[in-house]
C-alpha cells in the first residue's frame, strides 16, 4: 500500500513508492493552500451575508480571487522589523506557526472506501491507493503534538516583537491554548476508547458500521458531549471568535502580530486559516466518520468518500464562521472559567462514564443502569465542584479585600 508504511524499514526505496509519496505531498500541500484561499473568501462572504453586506465581489466571479489579490499585495508590501525586536526569533516565529499547521493535515484520510469493512484503500491507476498522506502508529497524537508546537509561533512572535501589546497578546494566547489543550485531549481520549486505536484510518473504520449508515459515528456513539467539548476547545485552540482574546482589536491593536507586516504577516494569516481547515477535517475524522457515509448509487464508486468528506468539512467551516458572526467575545476570566471549571471536569467525568460502560459491556451489566449511575455521579461531582468554587469565592471576598492605590 502506498504511503501506509508505518515503519522505517518497511519503506521500499527502490520501487516507485518514494515518487508516489512525493506526488502526494505536493498534492496535499496544493489542496491545502487552495482550500485556505477559498476559506478566506468563504468567511468574508458568509460574514458579510450575515451582516447584510455584499462583501468581496470585484476580483473574479463572486469575488473569489480576492484572497489571491490580497496575497499578491502583501508580497509587495514593505517588510518591517521593529528596532526593539529579537531579530532571529522575530523571523523564525511565522514559520513555527505555519509548519505545524501543514503537518497536521497529513494524517487526515481525505477519501476512500470504508463501506462494508473495507480499509479505505481504492484501486487507482492499477495501484492500491490510500487517500491519506501518512498513517503513523501514533496517529492523532501527531495532531496534538503539532497543535502544541503551533503555540510557539504565536508566543515567540509576541515576545520577539519587543513591544507591549504583542507580548500581552502572546501571553494570553499561550495560557489559553495550554488550558484548552487539556479539554481537547480528554475529549480525544473518549474517541480512542471507542475505536481502540490512535490511527485515523482505524478510527474511521471503527465508525463505518452502524444502523442507517451513519449510526456508527462517534458523535452518536459517545453521546454528543465529547464532540461539543472538542468543538468548543478547538475554537479556543484556533483563537477564533468568541475566544479571540489573543488579537482582541479593541484592547491589543492586533495582538501577537501587531508588529508584523508584508510576507511574514501573511504567513500568520495563512497558518490561522489553515488551522481552521485542518481542525474541521480532524473533527470530521474523529466524530463524523471521516469519508464514510451512505452510498446512494454505485456509479460514483469511491468518489462518495471524497464527496462526503468535503461536505462535512464545509459544514464545520460554516459553523466556525457562524460562531464569529454571532457570538460576542468572552472576557478573559470567563474564558478561563469555562475551560478549567466546566470543560475539563465534564470531559473527565464523561470519559470515566464511557470507561464504566466499556467495563459493563465485558461484565454484562445493564448499560442503562451504568449510564444512569454515571450521570448521577457526574451531577454529584459537578455539584461538589460548584460548591467548592462558591465557598472559595466567599472566603476570598471576606478575607482579601483588594486595595487600590
Amino acid at each position: 500500500m502506498i504511503a501506509q508504511q508505518a515503519y522505517l524499514d518497511d519503506f521500499d526505496w527502490t520501487s516507485w513508492d518514494p515518487v508516489f509519496l512525493a506526488v502526494k505531498v505536493v498534492l496535499v500541500f496544493t489542496v491545502l493552500l487552495v482550500s485556505v484561499m477559498f476559506m478566506v473568501w468563504f468567511e468574508r462572504k458568509v460574514v458579510s451575508d450575515m451582516q447584510n453586506r455584499i462583501g468581496p465581489n470585484v476580483a473574479g466571479p463572486w469575488g473569489m480571487l480576492q484572497t489571491l489579490a490580497d496575497g499578491i499585495k502583501l508580497f509587495f508590501k514593505e517588510d518591517l522589523t521593529p528596532a526593539g525586536a529579537d531579530r532571529f526569533v522575530f523571523k523564525l516565529a511565522p514559520y513555527l506557526s505555519l509548519i505545524p499547521a501543514f503537518l497536521m493535515f497529513s494524517i487526515v484520510p481525505i477519501a476512500g472506501d470504508f463501506s462494508d469493512g473495507n480499509d479505505g484503500s481504492v484501486e487507482l491507476f492499477g495501484q492500491t491507493f490510500v487517500w491519506q498522506l501518512v498513517d503513523p502508529p501514533m496517529g492523532i497524537l501527531l495532531f496534538l503534538a503539532m497543535s502544541g508546537l503551533g503555540i510557539y509561533g504565536v508566543m515567540l512572535a509576541g515576545w520577539s516583537s519587543g513591544s507591549k501589546y504583542p507580548l500581552l497578546g502572546s501571553v494570553r494566547a499561550s495560557a489559553q491554548m495550554v488550558s484548552y489543550e487539556a479539554a481537547l485531549g480528554l475529549s480525544l481520549a473518549a474517541v480512542f476508547l471507542s475505536s481502540g486505536s490512535l490511527s485515523p484510518n482505524e478510527i474511521v473504520r471503527a465508525q463505518a458500521d452502524g444502523p442507517f449508515g451513519i449510526g456508527g459515528w462517534n458523535v452518536f456513539g459517545l453521546g454528543f458531549v465529547p464532540f461539543v467539548i472538542f468543538l468548543i476547545a478547538s475554537t479556543a485552540e484556533l483563537n477564533r471568535p468568541p475566544f479571540d482574546l489573543v488579537e482582541a482589536e479593541q484592547e491589543l491593536v492586533g495582538g501577537f502580530h501587531t508588529e508584523y507586516s508584508s510576507l511574514r504577516f501573511s504567513l500568520f494569516f495563512l497558518a490561522e486559516f489553515m488551522n481552521v481547515v485542518t481542525m474541521s477535517a480532524i473533527m470530521v475524522t474523529l466524530f463524523f466518520g471521516g469519508p464514510h457515509g451512505p452510498v446512494f448509487t454505485e456509479t460514483l464508486g469511491w468518489a462518495w468518500g471524497l464527496l462526503w468528506f468535503v461536505l462535512k468539512v464545509l459544514v464545520f467551516l460554516f459553523t466556525f464562521v457562524w460562531f464569529r458572526a454571532t457570538l460576542p467575545r468572552l472576557r478573559y476570566d470567563q474564558l478561563m472559567d469555562l475551560g478549567w471549571k466546566l470543560l475539563i471536569p465534564l470531559a473527565l467525568g464523561w470519559f470515566l462514564m464511557l470507561g464504566a460502560l466499556r467495563v459493563g459491556q465485558n461484565e454484562g451489566w445493564n448499560p442503562f443502569a451504568v449510564i444512569a449511575i454515571g450521570l448521577v455521579v457526574i451531577a454529584a461531582g459537578g455539584a461538589l465542584l460548584a460548591g467548592a468554587i462558591r465557598n472559595a469565592r466567599v472566603g476570598r471576598t471576606e478575607s482579601d479585600v483588594l486595595e487600590y492605590g
Binding site: 524499514d9 503534538a145 508546537l149 490512535l198
Partner: protein, 216 residues
C-alpha cells in the same frame, strides 16, 4: 548505510547542537528554544527505535507544555535579557558542573563498551519490536499499556496520586487566606518588559487621578 543510521546521525547532530545551544546561549529565551530543538531531536531518535508513542508524548508534554511554561515564566518574571556568563553566582559551581558532566559521560561510555559483557547479546534494551500471533507488529502503545496496567498498575496509580498531591500542595502554598495582599517587591519591578507595562499603568493611573482632581 541503512536509513536508520542516517536518521540517527542527523537527529544526533540536532540533539547535540541543541544541547550545546542550551548551555551556551546568552539569552534565556534562546536557551529555551534550543531546548525544544533538543527535545525534538530526541523524539526523532525515539521514532528510529520505533517508540512512536514515546516520541509523540515527548513532543506533546515536554515541547508542548513544559517548555511553554518555562517561556511563560521567563517572560513574566522579566528575566528575558542576556546574562553575563563570566559571573559565577555560586562559587565552585562551574568546576562541579565540569566534573559531574565528565562523570556522566564516563558512565555512559562504560555502559556502551561493556554492553556485550552485561547482556551477552547485542543491546541493552532487548528487541525493539514484538509480533503477535498473526505475525503483525504490536504497536508500542499497546505494549506500553499492557505493562503499565498489569505489572506496574500500583506504581502507576501512586505516581498519579503523587502528581495530584503536588498540584494541591502548590495551590495551598500559593493561596493565602487572611492577611493583606502583599505588594510586588520593588526589585521585581525594576526589570523586564512587564516592568515597562506596570510603569505605564502607573503613569496612566496617575494621569487619571490628576484629571479627576481637576474636575473636583
Amino acid at each position: 548505510m541503512s536509513l536508520q543510521v542516517l536518521v540517527f546521525l542527523i537527529s544526533a547532530l540536532i540533539v547535540l547542537s541543541g544541547a550545546l545551544g542550551v548551555v551556551l546561549a546568552k539569552h534565556p529565551v534562546h536557551s529555551a528554544l534550543f531546548l525544544i530543538q533538543t527535545l525534538f531531536g530526541v523524539a526523532v531518535l525515539f521514532l528510529v527505535v520505533e517508540a512512536h508513542f514515546l516520541a509523540a508524548i515527548q513532543v506533546i508534554v515536554y515541547a508542548g507544555a513544559i517548555v511553554i511554561l518555562f517561556l511563560f515564566v521567563i517572560m513574566l518574571l522579566g528575566v528575558d535579557r542576556s546574562e553575563d556568563l563570566s559571573i559565577e553566582p555560586i562559587v565552585g559551581q562551574r568546576m562541579i558542573a565540569y566534573v559531574s558532566g565528565a562523570a556522566i559521560l564516563g558512565l555512559l561510555l562504560a555502559v556502551i563498551y561493556s554492553v556485550d559483557d552485561l547482556t551477552g547479546g547485542t543491546s541493552l534494551t532487548g528487541a525493539i519490536d514484538r509480533t503477535d500471533a498473526d505475525g503483525e507488529r504490536v504497536p508500542d502503545v499497546n505494549q506500553l499499556a499492557e505493562v503499565i496496567f498489569t505489572d506496574h498498575v500500583f506504581t502507576f496509580e501512586v505516581t498519579g496520586l503523587l502528581l495530584t498531591v503536588a498540584v494541591v500542595g502548590a495551590v495551598v502554598m500559593a493561596r493565602r487566606i487572611g492577611g493583606d495582599l502583599q505588594p510586588i517587591p520593588e526589585s521585581a519591578l525594576d526589570q523586564g518588559v512587564l516592568a515597562d507595562i506596570l510603569a505605564d499603568g502607573d503613569e496612566s493611573a496617575e494621569d487619571g487621578a490628576s484629571i479627576e482632581g481637576e474636575d473636583a
